[in-house]
């Protein structure tokens, strides 16, 4: 694993915040994913060594939490909320619109690597349902028309 000097310093600062190094596993994995776009297989041993924990414990964490990607996702990673408030306000239509527009099913990725799509559980944006998270950003009060506009903008 290669990281720039400033990233290594950032990781040192994160680890130093905690009474015990293993507590830094989620934030360090967030940094790894930010730098690589996903958590590459070789990161497991690197993080384990850095935090002095068994690689199997890092694997447990990686496989448990939904936000860590084990393989590259699309440059725009679309996460449509399917929990009840969004469901009542039309999330199924939103997902169907995305699938039609970019030609993939939930769980899929476009061949050009631009988009990936997943359905997720409640993202805490129920008052502005339906919504989706795209990378770090929330897009709220969606309509099929708005989703089409966003996808066209991102396709350019």
């Amino acid at each position: 694993m290669n990281f720039a000097a400033n990233v290594l310093e950032e990781i040192d600062r994160i680890v130093a915040r905690y009474p015990r190094a293993t507590s830094a596993v989620l934030p360090v994995l967030h940094v790894v994913q930010r730098e690589h776009g996903f958590v590459p297989p070789e990161a497991k041993a690197w993080v384990a060594a850095r935090l002095d924990m068994p690689p199997a414990k890092v694997e447990e964490v990686l496989s448990f939490y939904t936000m860590f990607h084990r393989a590259p996702v699309g440059r725009k990673h679309l996460q449509v909320c399917r929990s009840l408030s969004c469901n009542l306000r039309g999330e199924e239509e939103i997902t169907a619109t995305i699938c039609r527009k970019i030609g993939i099913d939930p769980g899929g990725k476009t061949a050009d690597g631009k988009f990936s799509l997943v359905q997720v559980e409640c993202l805490g944006s129920c008052g502005t349902a339906p919504m989706m998270q795209v990378n770090d950003d929330y897009h709220e009060s969606l309509t099929p028309r708005r989703v089409e506009e966003l996808l066209e903008e991102w396709s350019r």
Binding site: T22, L84, L88, E121, C126
Partner: protein, 435 residues
């Protein structure tokens, strides 16, 4: 107003949320921010606990446990580090109140966290925020840096001799980590598996040290209890259900959103006055889930209920996180139950067999009913599976998944029977898109 009527409620927790730059330290200080911390630091920690006890504040995360009492469970003799955790892992479907506070008034969240940490004699406080709340995370992080630079966080806070580091910790996508012991396992660097209680966190929590864990909204009340007094707090709402309260209104209403009222507003007023009534005038109310996916559903005849801990419990439901999801006549209750069962099946951590297998099984049964392939016996089977999860698991996720099931089956039996009798995937009445 008649004599003796309580004064009209004015927002407390969200009073600053609409103001420009409400997230900045300058505006917070101009509005009297961090004076509560200063007042708390002038008292002994035990006196802070007593004030919160006297206020009657009950936890806003879902369980409604008295906050001051929880604080008083911490050991009197400090032989190990004490930790305070602010639970910002807001993930209960329908809940979006803590996000508002963190994004719009992060210094209130920090000040509440600090006073809580002082009261339980901690020198470390953690704010565990769900990973998806990236925007709230960046706002809180910037606020923490402002607070640290001005001496509200760190060494010798306000010259009191008391040190407290506040560590903002991002989760990574797991509903279960909102459960207090799972959160601690996660914070220690593991997968979010809940732990058996006892030992309770006050005896052995984070790193096996005495730990108190409170919800964001709970701690946000504390600065106001310091500055305005426990009597002020206790006079809002009714006895044992007091204080200001944030309600998350979503679903088929005209104006969904977070509304702050005195604890115990009637569900009818929440929907009609604050929510602006039903989304479509021609689609009357069918059901309300008052406290998130984990609580029993109410039918349209039950909405003259005060939205507080004890009144909703008396109705066989719960206030939970005050996530009020409103369903109109176009909604199919089989579908609603399916969506909630799918949620719990997805979020079960898998540690306890009844929950791991049972949540999946319930989802499968409701799925086949909804698809028109169910049998009448499935309704009994669903109740049976639910009864074998309820109370049989380490943490309350199993209860949350199973507990509400009978309320759907009894109050909305017609919806289920319609799918089964007609072997149809078409709901009763025919659902139409809401927009």
């Amino acid at each position: 107003m008649s004599a003796g009527a309580p004064p009209p409620f004015r927002p407390v927790l969200t009073a600053r949320c609409g103001k420009p730059d409400s997230h900045r330290l300058g505006t917070y200080l101009a509005d009297g921010g961090y004076q509560a911390l200063s007042q708390a630091l002038a008292l002994q920690p035990a006196a802070v606990v007593d004030k919160v006890k006297a206020s009657g504040l009950r936890g806003r995360g879902g369980a409604g446990f008295p906050t001051g009492l929880k604080w008083s469970f911490m050991p009197k003799e400090k032989t190990k580090p004490h930790y305070l955790i602010n639970n910002a892992d807001e993930s209960e479907p329908g809940t979006f109140k803590d996000r508002l506070l963190m994004e719009k008034d992060p210094h209130l969240v920090i000040e509440g966290t600090l006073i809580g940490a002082y009261a339980i004699r901690a020198n470390h406080a953690f704010i565990y925020i769900r990973g998806e709340y990236y925007h709230a995370y960046t706002v809180l992080l910037a606020a923490l840096e402002e607070a640290r630079a001005k001496g509200y966080v760190g060494k010798n806070i306000l010259g009191s001799g008391w040190d407290c580091e506040v560590i903002l910790h991002r989760g990574a996508g797991a509903y279960i980590c909102g459960e207090e012991t799972a959160l601690m396992t996660s914070l220690e660097g593991g997968k979010g598996f809940p732990r058996l209680k006892p030992p309770f966190p006050a005896a052995a929590g984070l790193y096996a040290c005495p730990t108190t864990i409170n919800n964001v909204e709970t701690l946000a009340n504390v600065p106001f209890i310091m500055t305005r007094g426990p009597e002020w707090f206790a006079a809002i709402g009714r006895e044992k259900n007091s204080g200001p309260k944030l309600y998350c209104l979503s679903g088929h209403v005209k104006r969904p959103g977070v509304y702050e009222t005195a604890m115990g507003i009637s569900l009818r007023d929440l929907i009609d006055v604050h929510g602006g009534g039903m989304l479509h005038p021609d689609r009357p109310l069918k059901a309300v889930i008052p406290g998130g996916a984990s609580v029993g559903v109410l039918d349209a005849s039950e909405i003259d209920v005060p939205m507080d801990f004890d009144a909703l419990r008396a109705k066989g439901s719960m206030l939970g996180s005050a996530a009020t999801m409103v369903l109109d006549s176009s909604a199919c209750m089989v579908k609603a139950l399916l969506v909630n069962c799918r949620f719990f099946a997805h979020e079960s951590c898998g540690q306890c067999t009844p929950c791991r297998v049972g949540c999946d099984w319930m989802e499968k049964i409701v799925h086949r009913i909804e698809g028109g392939e169910g049998r009448l016996e499935d309704l009994e089977l669903l109740n049976d599976v639910a009864s074998r999860i309820n109370g049989q698991t380490i943490c309350p996720l199993g209860d949350a998944a199973a507990g509400p099931v009978p309320s759907y089956l009894t109050k909305f039996r017609a919806d289920f029977v319609h799918h089964i009798d007609n072997h149809t995937a078409v709901c009763l009445p025919k659902a139409t898109a809401s927009r």
